[in-house]
């Protein structure tokens, strides 16, 4: 790794930088979810699937904290990153109502450990599960595993069919994209656990089991998916926490671990081995 991009205290990781982020686009993609595109050269060049940015909004607002948002896509050539966000509180309301193309924000990025990539030659099968906004950090994951030659399937869940996010990206690289909706307007009528249980079981029965499963979405959804996992299959999750510093210093974002102790979601995560997390304490 080039010396000037290596993290000062985490060897082998590209350092996060504070960079200007000019807004190229900011628009709704479906009810409740927006897509923001930012010119952020360092993050666009170096982000790997599963990392996030810590976005700063106009400093004259009443708010002191940045907003951590996973990188939905990183376009190296265009030097742009895409973020998906839902309007759920004061900061995301400001993002949807007050930020327009041409605005100059800033962000710290890329941050975090990222999803694991395949080992070896593309053997095995991957299953990527994205519930709600959890689809955002796993689209690049599916693309990366498929590009490495691993057969990849996906499960996307949402309240209703029109809220399924970024299905085209998954359909472009996955063998199967299963859908689950709370209201039954598409696919399985229920949570992602319905197709998850079915697909894992049928892969096992066929003698062609999934060897890597990634799950991302609200914590209760991830907890329920992890409970369904067969033994011995590698599974990762991405933990979303409230964050203050976003760089590993303040200890606001800790995740309790099954073996005791804690890790920081920002820099030790946000990706964790599914069995490492103390789900009862989350």
């Amino acid at each position: 790794m080039e010396g000037h991009v290596e993290c000062a205290w985490l060897p082998g990781r590209v350092k996060p930088v504070l960079e200007t982020a000019r807004v190229a686009a900011n628009e709704p993609v479906c009810p409740g979810t927006w897509r923001m595109v930012l010119e952020a050269p360092h993050t666009a060049r170096h982000a790997v699937p599963g990392q996030f940015v810590h976005l700063g909004l106009d400093v004259e607002r009443d708010s002191v904290l940045r907003v951590p948002i996973s990188v939905h896509a990183a376009h190296r050539q265009e030097q742009e990153v895409e973020l998906l966000y839902q309007v759920v509180g004061p900061s995301t309301t400001v993002m949807s109502e007050q930020i327009v193309p041409g605005d100059e924000l800033d962000l710290i990025g890329p941050i975090g450990n990222g999803w694991s990539m395949p080992e070896g030659t593309g053997a095995g099968r991957a299953l990527i599960v994205g519930g709600g906004l959890g689809a955002a950090p796993v689209a690049s994951l599916a693309e990366a595993w498929a590009a490495a030659g691993v057969r990849t399937d996906a499960i996307l869940g949402a309240q209703t069919s029109e809220r399924i996010l970024s299905r085209e990206r998954f359909e472009a690289v996955c063998g199967t994209v299963a859908i689950a909706t709370d209201d039954g307007t598409e696919g399985d009528h229920g949570f992602v656990t319905v197709p998850l249980e079915r697909m894992v079981a049928s892969a096992l029965e066929a003698g062609d089991p999934y060897t890597y499963i990634a799950v991302c979405g609200p914590t209760p959804m991830m907890r329920n998916c992890v409970r369904l996992l067969p033994d011995g299959v590698r599974c990762e999750v991405s933990m979303e926490r409230l964050m203050a510093c976003g760089v590993g210093a303040c200890l606001s974002c800790i995740v309790p671990l099954a073996a005791g102790g804690t890790k920081r979601a920002c820099v030790d995560g946000p990706v964790f081995d599914a069995r490492e997390v103390d789900w009862d304490a989350c």
Binding site: V17, V64, I108, C245, A249, A281
Partner: protein, 306 residues
Amino acid sequence: MPADVNLAVNLGGLAMKNPVTDASGTFGAGQEYADFIDLDALGALTTKGVSPVAWEGNPAPRIAETPSGMLNTIGLQNPGVEAFCAEKLAFLANYSVPLIVNVAGHRIDEYLAVIDRLESEERVDAYEVNISCPNVDAGGLAMGTDPAMAREVTVACRARTKRPLIVKLTPNVTSVADIARAVEDGGADAVSLINTVQGMAIDAFRRRPRLSRPVAGLSGPAVKPIALRCVWEAHRAVSVPILGMGGIRTGVDAVEFMLAGATAVAVGTANFTNPRATVEVIEGIRGYCESQGIADVNELIGGLQC
């Protein structure tokens, strides 16, 4: 051509090349900020609180954003003094910035255990004793809320070290001046203030506190007026130098604290908004002095006219 502004100050025996340090708890032991600033640009680096053994801290949620600030109930999570020496001091050996180690304890002998262990570590330059910790030997009452207890902690720590001893005061008291006088009397070389202000945040729809503990610590711009008032009151009460903090974001904020009586300042919550806040405050102080024709930043200390 005017000479450069002198920014150097002396905080109770700790020579600082400029008045700015970070506020304990917002900056780890510095390494996570090394990607954003040159740690050696700081007047001093203040670590997170160090206890004799590892403290786990509180469950999540540990923070809540509030108007112009935030509440935290981290719970002083830290790996304990041995791990601090093995891990954090090793990284800081790469830098020469003066090092203030913040010391935490639940009883007086815990503070002493940390100081005793660090006395043999050459890298450490000064101690900041956090007396906002509850004293389990006194029914959980915070050490720093009672002048006699505050004095007792200070006397005990004073006996263990010749290094600059800074005692960090809590604003959650009736009289900051009384506590400041007590720790000055106990032998403190300097006082730092303010620690966080006790506050709450409530989720009206879940009908629960937003944090894992109902009462947490408020920091950020919302507390600046309280912090300035406390610094001013302490300055009128004691002669030892003051390290002022509470909502500082800019060089002008820092100047306000110096005018109120602070010799040095700490930047805390602002690091979350801007990881370069510390160095920008240093440059802001320099810019203020240049534009005001101030040759030496020490002219500002206690310079408030009223």
